[in-house]
């Protein structure tokens, strides 16, 4: 008897202090993140409305020194990152305890936020690269938090390689820039930007679009995103998807639109094509994804594609002599960055809440959470509504402004615009349509209906701190959905500081009514919501007609076609829900389907069992990455022959190398 009691008691004794310590650490980590975020939010807002602030610390970095210049554009991105970090920090307090985080990720989380806050604040090339690397390294460490799982390690390696490749391109571009300008401060570079040769400008544009585009998850360098974001712990996914990808957008705006801008027409066109392809491809993959977090990650690629499309439109229009409409496209891009940060934070945090409660990310095994986790369900619903771009959702207003800028470009005989704009409208419209389908799938299959597994059936609501973190993000979503006027002054402050893309920003009114300059069209999200509420009430009243004659309401079982009961296995799953769309876009998605029919030995006409497997890989990754990786491995194998471990051979190499250097120096 005693032998059974003793270990239990001992474990309890050990468990108490351990839980208390975990709680202390989680609160410290979450609080640090939140405070850093709040600091960033305040500093960012001050920078948007105030003059550019400078800070130089020469002793911190030998030779170059550290230099910060916080201007309105940087301020906006600092504020967004800060706001995301506030919500994530509060959420982490509960999440880290529930998921028993180790100490290491708790320490690195605030560092990651600090890195992201420093990137838009950097005023010189070395500072920028340093902050960028801090952000990249910290996020890599966080992705590897659960490194005992194989999938996490694979995602980590993939992410590490791609983020460093992106860094190399950014490094090359910025080195080219500062060499051409003769100084490493961004202000110096901007002052000399017009004197640079066309070749330098083109090289910098291509390199930065590739490097920053890979961070923003744009095609074809998006492949790390749907791997790393799902495998990272959920608060980290939220930070990466809602704040870190924005840094790619920030880089494109800063270097290509502001410093080098206004660029030639093909720059804008390139950005538009990249954006449109990323948006459509991302949303298609999201539509057929069955992993909840992978779906959200592809949705990030989609939304960053839309932002890039808007940036490209702004660039193309200012190069084509329509600065007023370019300002509208720029407004759309910035507002979409903000709205995306809000709804993606919320969606990832809610997905994390589900993951913590059930251990599941697979939509095919979820379901029935609406009754078990009502608050999380409502939160995810708000986030999904925002992501689908429907009215009453956070993403609607920015997509509306994007549409307005696309349909109001002047058609004065400009063939390029006449072709680019309708095709962009088609791409954006297809993206919204499919985005609705993917979000209906995520919410309807994952949260409604009946649980498809025991784990989903036993789900319990998350603790208060996690719900509070989500609540903050939901409040932000509500602002973007109903009252975008709140952020209008900030957007105007940023746009006024970006004369390279945009013209008269005073005409862009985001008040109760959204009015855009030169466009005879308006929208009022707040009044629309009020009117919709009235419409729903009227419909409800109409359905009450004759209610006096009705018998008392009853609850009955679902119709089971005359069978005894419906089992949860009979429901539609995420895979079956998306099957029609998968079939329609068969040529793009290229699903790998196997049907294996086993016959009875007695007769080949009698089927014993049928096995059906379908595998949906990323076609771009398969087509593009596999050959490149294969070539790199082959090359490495060739090089490997040269170093076979013999010290004598290595000494010979050294001698030959020295000779070559001497000959060259001669």
């Amino acid at each position: 008897m005693t032998t059974t009691v003793l270990p239990a008691a001992a474990a309890e004794l050990g468990e108490g202090p351990r839980t208390a310590r975990l709680a202390r650490e989680a609160i410290a980590s979450g609080l640090a993140t939140t405070l850093l975020g709040a600091l960033g939010l305040v500093l960012g807002v001050v920078a948007i409305f105030g003059p550019t602030r400078h800070l130089r610390i020469d002793w911190l970095l030998p030779l170059a020194g550290v230099r910060f210049d916080v201007d309105p554009l940087g301020g906006l991105f600092i504020a967004v990152t800060g706001a995301v970090a506030v919500a994530v920090g509060i959420y982490t307090v509960g999440y880290a305890q529930r998921e028993h985080w180790a100490r290491f990720p708790m320490v690195v989380l605030p560092l990651f936020v600090a890195g992201m806050l420093l990137v838009p604040a950097a005023g010189s090339v070395p500072t920028f690269l340093l902050a960028w690397e801090l952000m990249a390294a910290a996020s890599l460490v966080l992705v590897l938090s659960e490194h005992n799982r194989g999938a996490v390690r694979f995602a980590g390696v993939f992410y590490a390689v791609m983020t460093q490749l992106g860094f190399v391109m950014i490094l090359l571009a910025l080195v080219l820039l500062s060499a051409a300008a003769g100084g490493d401060a961004f202000t110096t570079i901007a002052a000399h930007a017009d004197d640079m040769s066309a070749g330098t400008r083109t090289a910098v544009f291509v390199l930065t679009v590739l490097g920053f585009g890979s961070k923003a998850g744009l095609l074809p360098l998006h492949a790390w995103l749907p791997k790393a974001h799902p495998e990272a712990p959920s608060p980290v996914s939220a930070l990466m998807s809602a704040a870190m990808v924005n840094m790619g957008i920030y880089g494109i705006i800063r270097i290509d639109l502001q410093i080098l801008g206004p660029g030639p027409q093909w720059w804008g066109l390139t950005l538009m094509i990249l954006g449109a392809v990323s948006a459509v491809f991302g949303v298609l993959q999201a539509t057929v994804a069955t992993d909840l977090k992978r779906l959200l990650a592809y949705s990030t690629t989609e939304n960053m594609g839309l932002v890039t499309l808007a940036l490209g439109t702004a660039s193309l229009l200012s190069a084509s002599g329509a600065p007023d409409v370019a300002a509208i496209a720029m407004t759309a891009a910035l507002l979409h960055v903000l709205a995306h940060a809000a709804f993606k934070t919320l969606a990832f945090l809610a997905a994390g809440s589900v993951l913590a409660a059930t251990g599941l990310r697979d939509l095919d095994k979820l379901g029935g959470l609406a009754r078990r986790m009502p608050v999380t369900t409502v939160m995810f619903g708000i986030g999904a509504l925002g992501a689908s771009g429907l009215p009453m959702g956070a993403g609607f207003v920015s997509e509306w402004i994007l549409f307005q800028s696309l349909i109001h470009s002047p058609p004065d005989g400009n063939t390029l615009l006449a072709l680019a704009m309708p095709l962009s409208v088609g791409a954006v419209a297809l993206t919204t349509g499919l985005g609705i389908a993917s979000m209906v799938k995520a919410f309807g299959v994952g949260f409604l209906a009946r649980p498809r597994s025991v784990a989903a059936e036993d789900a319990r609501e998350s603790p208060m701190s996690m719900l509070t973190g989500m609540g903050l993000a939901a409040a932000a979503c509500a602002v973007f959905a109903f009252w975008p006027a709140l952020v209008a002054p900030a957007l105007r402050g940023v746009l006024d500081a970006l004369p390279e893309v945009g013209g008269d920003t005073a005409g862009v009114q985001l008040a109760t009514f959204l009015r855009l300059p030169g466009i005879d069209g308006s929208l009022s999200p707040a009044l629309l919501a009020v009117a919709l509420a009235a419409g729903v009430l009227l419909a409800f009243a109409a359905s009450r007609w004759g209610a006096r004659h009705r018998p008392a309401p009853v609850e009955v079982p679902l119709w089971a076609c005359g069978a005894e009961t419906l089992s949860p296995r009979m429901q539609y799953t995420a895979t079956s829900f998306a099957e029609p769309l998968q079939r329609v876009f068969d040529n793009v998605l290229r699903p790998d389907t196997d049907v294996e029919v086993t016959h009875f030995a007695e007769s080949q006409y009698l089927v014993e069992k049928v096995t059906f497997t379908t595998r949906l890989a990323d076609p771009v990754e398969q087509r593009l990455y596999t050959p490149v990786v294969g070539a790199v491995i082959a090359l490495a194998q060739t090089v490997r022959r040269a170093h076979n471990g013999s010290v004598h051979l290595y000494l010979l190499y050294g001698a030959i190398g020295l000779l070559v250097v001497l000959l060259v120096a001669q």
Partner: protein, 320 residues
Amino acid sequence: MSALSIVAAVLQVVVVLVGAPFVVGGMRQVRARLEGRAGGGVGQPWRDLRKQLRKQQVTPRGTTLVFAVAPAIAAGTTLLIAAILPIFALGSPLDSVADLFGVVGLLFLGTVALTLAGLDTGTAFGGMGSSREITIAALVEPTILLAVFALSIPGQSANLSAIVSATLDNPGQVFSLGSVLAFVALVIVIIAETGRLPVDNPSTHLELTMIHEAMVLEYAGPKLALVEWASGMRLTVLLALLANLFLPWGIAGADPSLLAVLIGVVAIAVKVSVLAGLLAAGEVFIAKLRYFRVPELLSGSFLLALLAVTASYFLATPTR
């Protein structure tokens, strides 16, 4: 905005509420007569509604709030659209609240509500219907928005009153290539969005072929009445939109007199009746398409809409 334009907007909502079942009844009657049946009469949908509204409220076990409120959202969005559109008179007080993009968004909001309700039941039929409905909606959206784009080029605005007044000021442009192509594209997507033949069969009772009806299979009594009412209103509103976008004559101006509003009511009643009759007559001669052929139809309409935009850009330079 005058008092009468407010009255006109309220009247639009009321007339759509009352008239939608008659439109559905009229279409059924046309179809019945052409097929050699007597038919139930134009008032039959109203009698059905009254019957269903008096029935017991039956809630399927395990459904959530989503299932309960979806019909009201579907009907509410449609009523709001009815208040925004220029049906009887231009310059509805809600005209500046949402333009055509907003209207399309509201339309899809209603679709999404019912789709989620279908999934919420957790039955095979609910999921099947939802999956099919959302697939069609996802493919319809690009076409609608492109057609909106094509229509907004002449008036330089996507606000409905501006589009309609541009057509009134410049009647010749109805027969321009862009306008005709946009019309055809819009007809196809309206058929798809309201679940008419050849995309979906509204009178089917075979679950495996149903789209909309499979999705709302679990609804009964008063909630079913609201769902059917909403789908009738949606059809009516979209037909009225189609009529006034391409043949706006008869509609009252932005600051109307009482007589002008009355003329507007009669004009739209005639236009919607003719369109609904044509649609019903056309349905007699076609069979339902296989589900996986529908995307081909929709991509065809997408192409037409794209051509419409390009044609408007290149051929019809805006008259400013």
